[in-house]
Symmetry: C2
Subunit: 334 residues, 2 copies
DNA sequence: CTGAAAGCGCTTACAG
DNA sequence: CTGAAAGCGCTTACAG
């Protein structure tokens, strides 16, 4: 680049040393206020731009955080992780950090190929956004960099993680259905697909237990195969009065399906979702659901990452981010 | 970081110089094949990671591209730009480049505050994804870095831009409606909101002109205010037989609205959209629409950026990326 | 094919 | 308060 002004150039124009310019520009001690102002205004005038690469080299930090999202979570219909990523990027910027997105394709995940940004020291830490295979987690584990699992966790790994309180959210919304008089309540989701779905199921189950409602196998409805691909939901012969869906998207699908069967929502069947994402307001009626706090999740992840960079021994364990029920019109009081 | 292996460390172990290690690792000439292999395998064994910051400093390149998306295009309901961003990020990686996302908030846009990544030389170029104010474009113009406008353009600025061929896409889909026997065709969109909406309108208009169908003011329906906020669409007293909507989201809204009025789609009214995004398959019936080629747009942007980095004088002007009509079930033959 | 020297732009630690 | 020296890890250009 042509217009390449350095601290030395500023120093020369002022007949001082680059050290002093450095101190002034970084607001460090050791420069008189007067000189500092002079330096800063000249820097501005000369169109000086700080060279972050030089600093990076000095202190071995890139001031970048890598965010890894498995490709399968980023289709046309899935903007959730991209939205979290966006928030992360915003929050990082406020800390003088930047983010680099790495979409992890399934091939790299299987072969446990770490992102190139790791091998090029382009990042100081990783946020893994979305469940990856055990093998991949183990590989990640070996990197001697701060890392955080976001929106999922793994018991065998002691990597810090931040997740929505899926268990409690599903527990609460099931309680709500029961308060509304429902007793025949189905759960929609593949229990072996992701830990989120599993935990939401368990929250649902806890609510049933507390209310002495027996768990019925035929009321656990599968919505996807184990690789996450949606399948047609098979309804039980006699319909329950309510459905707890593991996510809004599936709730929306279910509503479409029920409607085609001539079922009126919520008069014949109540349906609740989870996430409060775009799908929650696309159905008629709009979905009662559990809102996942995207802002808080991103914020927590960034804050924790900054702490871990400062102190690599910082351990947080598993942090739960509370959701909250959004009451809309898909539930009927019996 | 503790585990900090450098080329020098490898060189010392082998009793050679760092220069030779550098050549080997970068697959450059001037090392015997045998030695090169020995160096590479030792590097692997020692867990060597290349320090990109050092290279960055040497050649004044960060190997990062900044992608700027105005915040207003990134709401819960708008994943389009985030999807393009994702593709950009993927494509860049294949070129050994990485992306940094900068969400431009409206305050910074008004005050023409450039992203910090610019002032810290953290990026070698900018892709502006989504229409920004004239003032902001002018400010961007002053940066002596390669820059590309993506999904919009500005006549007064001679920044290279890449846009969907909105004009032609709307022209084609309107032609299709006319072929299907429609004559009363409305356009839905605020003509003063974005250049995309304007150009799509003009394509629609050209089709009318060619078919000697007069343009009727009361068939141009506003869908949003000038800041992009959606408003309730006011329908004309007597409904047209078809609607060309400037985007799928609005088409979906319109369908909901028409249905509430007891209008059957497509039997009473045909509706077409634009984008082929998530909204296009959420309506019943699914939308006939123009698919925007996200993959190609991202690819073109990255390719052009790489060329501009190599040769800063490279000019491409305005590149149009063709869309294609996706035929579904929202149009009826009259 | 191999390597000594110099330099990229900044900062740290120390001396004045 | 100010600055000379050394160093961060790599690469380029040149010499052998």
């Amino acid at each position: 680049m042509k217009n390449n002004i350095t601290m030395k150039d500023i120093a020369d124009r002022l007949g001082i040393s680059a050290v002093t310019v450095s101190k002034a520009i970084n607001d460090k001690e050791g420069v008189s206020g007067e000189l500092k102002e002079k330096i800063k205004s000249l820097a501005l005038e000369m169109g000086y731009r700080y060279n972050a690469a030089a600093k990076s080299m000095k202190d071995g930090l890139s001031y970048n955080i890598g965010v890894v999202i498995p490709e399968r979570f980023t289709g046309l219909t899935q903007s959730f992780y991209l939205r979290i990523y966006q928030q992360i990027s915003k929050n990082l910027e406020e800390c003088g950090y930047y983010s680099t997105l790495h979409i992890l394709n399934s091939e790299d995940e299987e072969q446990m190929t770490l992102p190139r940004i790791y091998y090029e020291k382009k990042v100081d830490g990783f946020i893994i956004l979305g469940q990856v295979s055990k093998g991949y987690i183990e590989t990640i584990q070996k990197m001697e960099l701060p890392k955080i699992l976001l929106d999922f966790y793994d018991e065998h790994a002691d990597i810090d993680s931040i997740v929505t309180d899926n268990f409690y959210g599903a527990y609460e919304i099931t309680n709500y259905l029961i308060q509304q008089g429902h007793r025949q309540i189905a759960y929609v989701g593949n229990l072996y697909s992701t830990s989120s779905i599993q935990d939401r199921f368990l929250g649902y189950f806890k609510s049933l237990l507390e209310h002495r409602i027996p768990l019925q196998d035929h009321l656990i409805l599968n919505d996807r195969d184990e690789r996450g691909k949606f399948i047609d939901i098979e309804l039980p012969e006699s319909l329950p009065t309510a459905f707890v869906c593991n996510c809004d998207q599936v709730a929306l699908e279910l509503i479409f399906k029920l409607k085609k069967l001539g079922c009126d929502i919520p008069n014949d069947c109540s349906v609740v979702g989870f996430d409060n994402d775009i799908y929650s307001t696309l159905s008629e009626p709009h979905l009662t659901t559990v809102e996942v706090d995207v802002i808080m999740m991103a914020q927590t992840a960034v804050k924790l990452m900054m702490e871990k960079i400062r102190n690599p021994h910082r351990k947080s364990g598993r942090i739960l981010v509370q959701g909250k029920i959004i009451y809309r019109d898909s539930v009927r009081k019996l």
